[in-house]
Symmetry: C3
């Protein structure tokens, strides 16, 4: 074991190849993208932060408790969630001194060696907080005090950080039931930061969500539509989409268990919806309804121009004991094998060649990159590939994404990086990793004489900045 | 954006590692294989080219219109197929000036950055046509004129190119219904180029092909057999296989949706065939019939010695709108997840240990390389592995093929490279990429002290030349 | 072809990157683990070797006949199993001079170029036997004589090799029906070598094993329990597990076709067992029974602390002709696509959060590393990841394992290396390969500034020594 505090450094060449030729090229490419503004078209930051601009509470509440990447690893090695103060399903919380929770984290920080969490966190410690010793048991208190002191400074308020991070635009994600009051507050505040929303209707689309009936009820109250009949339900979606678009949204997002789509007749869809509304839908009918709704959402996108995102293939809340005690989103979501070719055909049969339609596909099943997704995106004008996502947004995962999608999809059917995070302070770190990996990947192509360096420089800027602006209509 | 024409170069070390040690070894290995004759045992060039030796029409008709790798990428980024003059299903064609189509292509050439198409095309531009500036909007006309001028020279006639490319033997692919007249013409012409055929019976085997009934009718007329009865149908296959073998064929090729094989009794197979012939086959019966026919083809191979190739796992003509307007083979074929272990068992139970039987397996599902295909080929004497195919014949795909098949399959259960192309001019480029990647892969093994360099040199020659000759019985 | 004997060398830097920076780091990391004792928690050596300490017979019987990695490759290239003297199912054996078999092997040794077998064998030749020329046709006799001479020396007796190899502990694998007499002999002999057993109950759990009825009969006789009734059957398992634990076992091992688990009520399970015992189980019922038994084994592990290992996803004895003539385990086992997320849920719903329960998961389907296994192990406290296994324990496979599990699982949810071999002499070679690959992998992380070298050094020692001792409770 190491003894005492060790220095913490962020090397200028991190994530570049150690081959001197590739490294030199990567440096030159990176120099052109390092300070470009951050375009964050998909994420889960809380708009209330930017609406109210209140200080963050402390290191534990800011960096540990909300980050399931972090606490799932600790849990996997036997740390009880209660020891970290993770809130329970019933709203209660173990009485844990945040400093004690931070110490547990610090003692376990070696578990993250080599993982993206370690890279992101060290970036935050070093760049945001100016720390210069490594986190371990011996520096836990130093960290906790130092971070908490910083959080009381005006420079660490949400809007100040937003500006310091050079965020050009950030999208949050809201349910159709969300009044978007925080977005309205931001807009009315006169602050210039661009915080937009995205339409995420899963809660009012998934018949198997435990809150579907009450969500539907609310959906009707909010829109004044008869949402228990098919036509009214669709009208309610159109109405809310329009409101979201007014509040800056340029995209919708759909987190379904599979990529299944359907293309039912109006009468069939209405009948299915009746079954769903009556709470009588079987698992197969629930799946069919979600599938049909993807196609309905696509139809609305053709009309209103919102870019559609599909994030399928996750078994949510897999751990029964954790779900019962702590509820949803506690680090127990596990990827599933996912099929796209047959699943998307009904939707693509209708809208695959629509000039005004863009569907961005994500996957948690990397075996699809070269087999299904790159070939699909390399043919259909309506399809683009989202970046390496969630479990795969590590350097290795990003590299595999490029290696496995380049041949059939090229660079220009991809959309740049999504940070997809609620860990606000890590956003610069995550975009920096993505830019470095793309530059390292391009440097290899240049060093192996597959592309000229001037071309690679253009691609690097496209991936970091131009493609996300274009794909998400943020220009 | 770059301004004005940029130089076009093919670096001597392209595709080799930038690590100096690996690069030096790769150079030495490559020097031994660079100028070996091309053995092309599987492809789709048109035998009429070599029979009639007529000049190619122009750059667009030669390089753009027939190459679905190229136009699918343009289409994916919103270029209408009509703007390229792609023929429609009804035989009509948008009136497009080939020069205008070429300009569209040139303006979009950046879309191919990093893809194999860019490498192949630049190789053709540089090596075949002697161009020394990059293709872009500013050089589109220069390219179009230069290439068209060249195509009028005798050195650019098909046979002259065949010889210039040092092609030792090339296989085309024909249906059993093809009279092979072009092959006969070549043979009678006295020209020494070795152009052989391969037996591709899908059209008379797949009950779900829209032209199956008429193809069967023709099959009967051509062979004089009663092909609507099981015995006659099988005799017709044997007869045509013998004729193909007479015309040089050493192999058959089978492009089925799955790798399913079956082992029905004679009576069961005859009953199934009756159902198929009456047009009453369900999807499951059609699949079973294709499965049974693979085993029947294997039985014939045991007798006549034709090497069998299986190319499964593609969803053909996935884009409904494109299929309806432009017909088959318009860049909308998409790979499917594919299973081999259970699928092949019926066939292998009968012929897996036959000394006179060789089945070469291909895949579009790379997850099978290490899991199913290399272990199968590393055990069964009748099985060999075809190279990285179609969507996977890029440098990265070739590298993954070697990395994932080496441990269980070794080098000697693989069969060298297939170019599998109708883009005749790109054949040297494609073989060159394959040889370079194999040398780069071997150089890594040598540099990491897993193999001596004299062994690697032998393997390099085996992969480039000896193994395809042996596997396809072309020696 | 090379002419005459070539030198055989093991380079000090083998398997390290040829990049000078990475290589230098790898060397330093490796220096810390190169001579650590071997912890071999899972394998298939014969305890009789260590009990009786008799000399091995000859090169062919020691290195060729028992190693299906080796003879499957020869068989795949047309060498008959009889030519190697592989025993047949009926107990007979072709009369083959071991020297002749060895010559066949030597002539075919080039087939192994680049494979792990070649690396392991060359390590054995060089390090164990001191050979300094490469094996080929010209050196076959020299090898055969040299090895046979060595095997007659006291230094090549099993116990002497065990000590020379610095084996701290080795686990063998036995059926519940095994009396463990060899383990008893070892214990009584006073020899200090630690040879422990592991509980592998497949033969008395799998209703589809052809010897299940007789195995069950024996199981009852051995334990005195009424094993044809559910309660007695479970008691018999508990009794044998306790005996195995007495004989040093710290783990159980389960080689099922799939990872399916079940969670039936006691009454349902008892009814299912009755069906199984009567020999009436359908394929689905047999699968359900195996699934239920995994959960029962987990329940027993919670009580007795034996670590549970699950090795699913293999189609055993795929080659019908070879199975009929030569029986089981003749190199014809082929990996299958495997699912874990839904399959393990019943077991994990019961025991996934049990502090006293450890389940080590293996796979032959690498597509699961990043998709299912690393996310599962990176969340559940009860789950750990076994290393790259069987067809995947080559340098490339080990590298993929680390690359694809690091992000979600980290290093500390893995358990170090398993040699999983019956090829006793290759054990040091296999552990050396694993240590070198882990050091090379860590060196890349250090060279790319993702980890400091002092951290990497700690991880290297953890992976080579501390984690297997901890995961398998061998400390």
């Amino acid at each position: 074991m190491t003894t005492g505090p060790q220095p913490l450094a962020l090397h200028d060449d991190r994530l570049f190849s150690s081959d001197p030729l590739q490294r030199a090229i990567a440096r030159r490419l990176y120099a052109q993208v390092a300070t470009l503004p951050i375009v964050s078209p998909h994420g889960h930051t809380d708009p209330a932060w930017f609406a109210h601009n209140a200080p963050f509470a402390n290191a534990t509440e800011l960096l540990l408790v909300p980050d399931h990447y972090v606490f799932r690893m600790l849990y996997s090695q036997g740390v009880p969630l209660d020891a970290l103060g993770i809130p329970r399903a019933d709203g209660s919380r173990a009485e844990v001194d945040p400093r004690e929770a931070w110490r547990v984290f610090a003692e376990c920080f070696h578990l993250f060696r080599g993982t993206p969490s370690s890279m992101w966190l060290n970036h935050v410690f070093h760049e945001v907080f100016g720390l210069r010793v490594r986190l371990d048991a011996s520096t836990a208190d130093l960290y906790f005090d130092h971070i908490n002191d910083a959080l009381r400074q005006p420079g660490f308020l949400p809007r100040a950080l937003f500006e310091r991070f050079r965020i050009e635009v950030i999208a949050t994600t809201e349910s159709p039931l969300d009044p978007l009051e925080h977005h309205a507050t931001i807009r009315e505040s006169g602050w210039q930061g661009r915080v937009i929303t995205a339409y995420r209707p899963d809660a009012v689309i998934d018949p198997e969500h435990e809150q579907f009936p009450s969500a539907l009820q609310q959906f009707g109250e909010l829109t004044g539509e008869d949402v228990h009949r098919w036509d009214g339900y669709l009208r309610a979606h159109r109405q809310r989409r329009a409101y979201f678009a007014d509040m800056g949204a340029t995209s919708t997002d759909h987190g379904h268990p599979t990529a299944a789509t359907a293309n039912l007749s109006r009468a069939e869809a209405a009948r299915l919806f009746d079954t769903v509304v009556r709470g009588n839908a079987s698992a197969a009918q629930a799946e069919l309804f979600r599938a049909q709704m993807l196609t309905e959402m696509a139809a609305m996108s053709v009309d209103d121009g919102l870019v559609m995102q599909l994030h399928p293939g996750c078994f949510r809340n897999h751990n029964l004991g954790v779900f019962e005690r702590y509820g949803r989103d506690k680090g127990a979501d596990i990827p599933l094998r996912t099929e796209y070719v047959r699943a998307l055909k009904p939707l693509l049969d209708r809208f695959g060649n629509e000039p005004n339609f863009q569907l961005i596909l994500f996957t948690l099943d990397e075996s699809n990159y070269s087999r299904e997704l790159a070939p699909l995106a390399g043919h259909y004008p309506s399809l683009l590939l989202g970046p390496a996502w969630w479990f795969h947004d590590a350097p290795e995962g990003m590299w595999r994404f490029r290696e496995q999608t380049l041949a059939s999809g090229g660079f220009y059917n991809t959309v740049g990086f999504n940070d997809d995070t609620r860990a606000f302070l890590s956003i610069p770190a995550r975009h920096d990793v993505a830019r470095r990996i793309d530059c390292a990947f391009l440097a290899k192509l240049v060093a192996e004489h597959r592309m000229d360096e001037d071309e690679a420089a253009e691609v690097a800027i496209d991936l970091a900045y131009r493609l996300p602006r274009k794909a998400y209509k943020l220009g």
